[in-house]
């Protein structure tokens, strides 16, 4: 959109292209002739030049060290050894998992007589070689209370 003070022959887009050296031959000549006779466009070009020249140029976002690190990262991605280690790792994991599974199956404990749930839970925790955590203890306490309630209920109904 042209400014009110611009004449109909003004071509603002051409000034941008002129600034960037993107006009050739007759087009360039046309702008140069037009500038001689148009004060509005002369001013516009001066403002355009100062605006675009003020934009920071030549900045670098990455230091040489960061660029080197980037290069290494990219190269690591394309090296065959980057992709291959997945297979042996997977193989060893599978072998270890199979061995653990076999040990569990072969050393499975024989069935034990029916025990109250709290004792079973404690025994299993003991087999696993770790202490029952707070939540488990709380559950055991609830179960014991339930047993006690059932006993009391039985006593009440029989009495």
């Amino acid at each position: 959109m042209n400014k009110p003070s611009e004449s109909l022959s003004c071509r603002p887009q051409w000034l941008t292209l002129y600034y960037y050296g993107e006009l050739e031959g007759d087009d360039r000549l046309w702008v140069e002739n037009h500038l001689q006779g148009c004060a509005v466009c002369r001013r516009e070009l001066v403002e355009l030049e100062s605006a675009l020249d003020a934009l920071p140029k030549g900045e670098t976002a990455f230091s040489p060290g960061e660029i080197r690190a980037f290069d290494e990262r990219v190269c690591r991605r394309i090296r065959p050894e980057h992709r291959l280690p997945v297979r042996p790792a997977l193989g060893w994991t599978l072998a270890a998992a199979t061995a653990v599974l076999l040990m569990v199956v072969l050393h499975a404990p024989t069935p034990v007589p029916q025990q109250p749930p709290s004792e079973v839970a404690l025994q299993r925790a003991g087999e696993a070689g770790r202490l029952p955590d707070a939540e488990m203890l709380l559950n055991l306490e609830l179960l014991e209370n339930l047993d006690l309630l059932q006993e009391l209920e039985g006593t009440g109904s029989s009495g």
């Binding site: 603002p12 292209l17 960037y20 605006a51 990455f62 660029i67 980037f70 394309i78």
Partner: protein, 193 residues
């Protein structure tokens, strides 16, 4: 890198010589990273885009006919990836409309140059921050065209070829981008003058 050494390098890479690709990365990475950063205004995203461009080049090196130079190919790929990213970002911004522009600016983008004084550093940082914000007002294509012409000094014909667009369209994008940036940075220019 001249055409001859580029062809030799490509031949080495095709034969499975990864050191050839390492050389290629070392030659182009600085400019490609810088371009990706200018296009996106985001360091992390720039690294991801630049890396993706190199990995795509490695995958397609067998089919690389050499119609264009490696640099042009990389520029084109980075530009397209950046346009995709910028469009996604704009879409996200529209969805999360409550997010302010200033919140998206990465402070690391404004890491100062130790060679300049503290006052200049502050002012340069301020300009960069304002410019970054103004650049976000541009459409993805406007931003890419402006960056390629203004910062990378790529001729409009090449930009048109890289983006598969008519040269006239590129000219219009450039002019609109310049107009928007001038409008957005108007008060800053007044301070400068």
């Amino acid at each position: 890198m001249d055409t001859c050494s580029e062809k030799t390098l490509l031949a080495r890479i095709r034969e499975g010589d990864d050191t050839g690709f390492e050389e290629l990365v070392a030659v182009h990475s600085s400019r490609i990273l810088s371009l990706a950063w200018r296009l996106t205004g985001d360091r992390e995203e720039a690294e991801d885009i630049a890396q993706e461009a190199f990995l795509r080049l490695h995958r397609s090196v067998g089919d690389f006919r050499g119609d264009s130079s490696i640099a042009t190919w990389l520029y084109r790929t980075v530009t397209r990836l950046a346009i995709d990213y910028l469009r996604r970002r704009k879409l996200r911004k529209r969805i999360f409309f409550f997010r302010r522009d200033g919140e998206e600016a990465d402070p690391l983008d404004f890491v100062p140059d130790s060679a300049v004084s503290q006052g200049d550093r502050f002012f340069a940082g301020e300009i960069r921050m304002r410019l970054d914000r103004a650049m976000r007002r541009l459409s993805a294509r406007q931003r890419v065209v402006f960056t390629l012409r203004h910062y990378e000094e790529m001729p409009l014909k090449e930009i048109a070829a890289a983006l598969d667009l008519e040269e006239g369209t590129i000219k219009a994008h450039l002019h609109r981008a310049v107009r928007i940036l001038r409008q957005e940075l108007k008060d800053l220019y007044e301070e400068l003058s």
